[in-house]
Amino acid sequence: MNTLIRTELRKLFTTKLWWGMLAGSLAFTTLGVVATILGAGNDQSGIPPLSAPSTQRQAFGSSGAALIFILIVGVIGMTTEFRHFTSRPTFLFEPRRGRVVAAKLVTYASLGLVYSVLCAALAVAIILPWLSAKGVDVSLGANGIPRTLITTVISVAIFGVVGVGLGVLVRNQIIAVIGGLAYLFVLEPLIRVIPYVKDAYKFLPGGANAALTQANAQTGQGSTDLLGTWTGGVVLVCWGLLFAILGTALTVRRDIP
């Protein structure tokens, strides 16, 4: 297993994808922080003033934007094998296909962890001096901020698993990337407001993530009923693993292109 993970890391760091996506994660984190701080206390933005704990949590939680990028990296990390037919050497060197998928799950969860820790560190590095310059009292140990930082990091890591799972299930790179993003940012927000199906939202990946990161509490959209923080985290992991297991079961039976 160790060998397989090291193989995956070698694959990852010998193409440019990882740092492009890391740059994107850092850029989106910065944008999120800047938008929250500039918009705080502004009537039109609807964000409470910077002194409010929820606003502070929202700013620190900006690093959660990295989930989009790790999701894409995870999907591409899996689907690129099929797209460029590196699946052939990959499964020639390790014919036990399930183990290859498992190694990818571990690798991309770890990469998600790295992305999100770097993004969280960037958020902290921007927020602390900026707020103290504005004379706002902020402490890393208060107002639920430690919990926000930790759950956001975990959420991003789990999306590495979801990405690989989606990739092994869908196989087609374009469909998996676009489908994954469209689902999270278009379909799920719709499900959330449609009567009859909206109750299912809390069990879906986006809903479970919202529970984990308490995103609703941050953004003030607390009207929807959510799972508990850790239950949400577990449900999200289960989605990732479900995709991966389903996909692997199919992949093991299907011929390698």
Binding site: T7, R10, H84, L92, P95
Partner: protein, 319 residues
């Protein structure tokens, strides 16, 4: 000893795609220390067979083993079997060297092995270039380098000459020979052009329309079919009557002539003379291997059924 290291045994291998029997009950053996040509026209099922041997495709029926084990059960298969399957299995943004180093990790080999095989296939100068800019010939060489990485006892190469220039093909021939002769490796190399591998292979396995047509030593194949006699005669029925008791078969040949198989030209001439059968031509034909190959695979003279005409029966129907 079916499980001798390096021996490939294919038995009853079948692959059905929908209604198409792409590979139909194919069995053959590839011996260590030999280069075996896996021949057949495009679409004969060669690639599908090789993919099943390598565990990338699941057979509908039958089994394939290498050294007695199905591919999936070979411990660290990258050190035992090297394979080239269409030279497209590269990430375009990865350098040749990094591509190889990735599989060095996978097979538990030192990274230095990447440079060694690059050298071996003549790609050392392009080591740090991304595969995106590689020509087809360079990709073939890189695919071969990947196959050689684990210094495997068994090499399975699917159309490795595709995209190589004549110089590259000549190099490949020598290289494959060297691998089998001096290193006692098992080399199974597929091609749709016999002449490409004719000078390299010891044995051939010939496939047509998913079925095994022939397997054996190249020399036997040539000897078997080289004794045809081409005759031209206005009374073919009489000739059949005279020659049939001698065990000869007569089949329609090119340009209204007939091909007599199984007897020497002197016998044909003598018997015809005795029976007062008029002959307009009598020629001993040594069919070349390419013709044999085309006949066997049913592609001779562009006629799909050329090799399958029941010989003597048709002769009687001719005017």
């Amino acid at each position: 000893m079916p499980d001798e290291p390096g021996r490939i045994v294919v038995s009853g291998l079948t692959k059905v795609f929908g209604t198409l029997r792409a590979v139909d009950d194919v069995s053959f053996t590839v011996e260590p220390g030999s280069v075996t040509g896996f021949l057949g026209p495009n679409g004969a099922g060669k690639t599908t067979t090789l993919r099943m041997v390598l565990g990338l495709a699941t057979p509908t029926a039958g089994v394939a083993t290498i050294g007695g084990l199905p591919y999936a059960q070979i411990p660290n298969p990258g050190r035992m079997v090297g394979a080239v399957l269409e030279a497209t299995s590269f990430h375009p943004g990865r350098t040749a060297r990094n591509h190889l180093r990735t599989y060095c990790v996978a097979a538990g080999l030192p990274d230095s092995r990447a440079d060694e095989v690059l050298d071996q296939v003549g790609l050392a100068d392009a080591a740090r270039k991304t595969v995106r800019g590689f020509s087809l010939g360079m990709r073939q060489r890189l695919a071969l380098a990947t196959a050689l990485l684990g210094d495997p006892r068994v090499l399975i190469l699917d159309e490795p000459a595709n995209g190589l220039d004549p110089e590259g093909i000549a190099w490949l021939r020598g290289f494959l020979r060297h691998l089998a002769d001096s290193d006692k490796r098992t080399v199974l190399v597929s091609s749709h052009v016999l002449s490409e591998v004719e000078q390299t292979v010891d044995r051939v396995v010939i496939l047509a329309r998913g079925r095994l047509v022939r397997q054996g030593r190249l020399a036997e194949l040539a000897a078997d079919q080289s004794s045809a006699v081409l005759v031209r005669t206005p009374s073919p029925d009489r000739l059949v009557e005279v020659l049939a008791p001698l065990g000869a078969t007569v089949e329609p040949g090119p340009d209204g002539g007939y091909r007599v198989l199984g007897v020497d030209p002197e016998v044909v001439g003598h018997e015809a003379w005795k029976a007062h059968v008029e002959l307009h031509e009598l020629t001993a034909v040594r069919s070349d291997l390419e013709q044999i190959f085309l006949d066997l695979t049913g592609n001779g003279n562009g006629n799909d059924t050329a090799g399958q005409v029941p010989a003597t029966a048709t002769v009687g129907g001719q005017p």
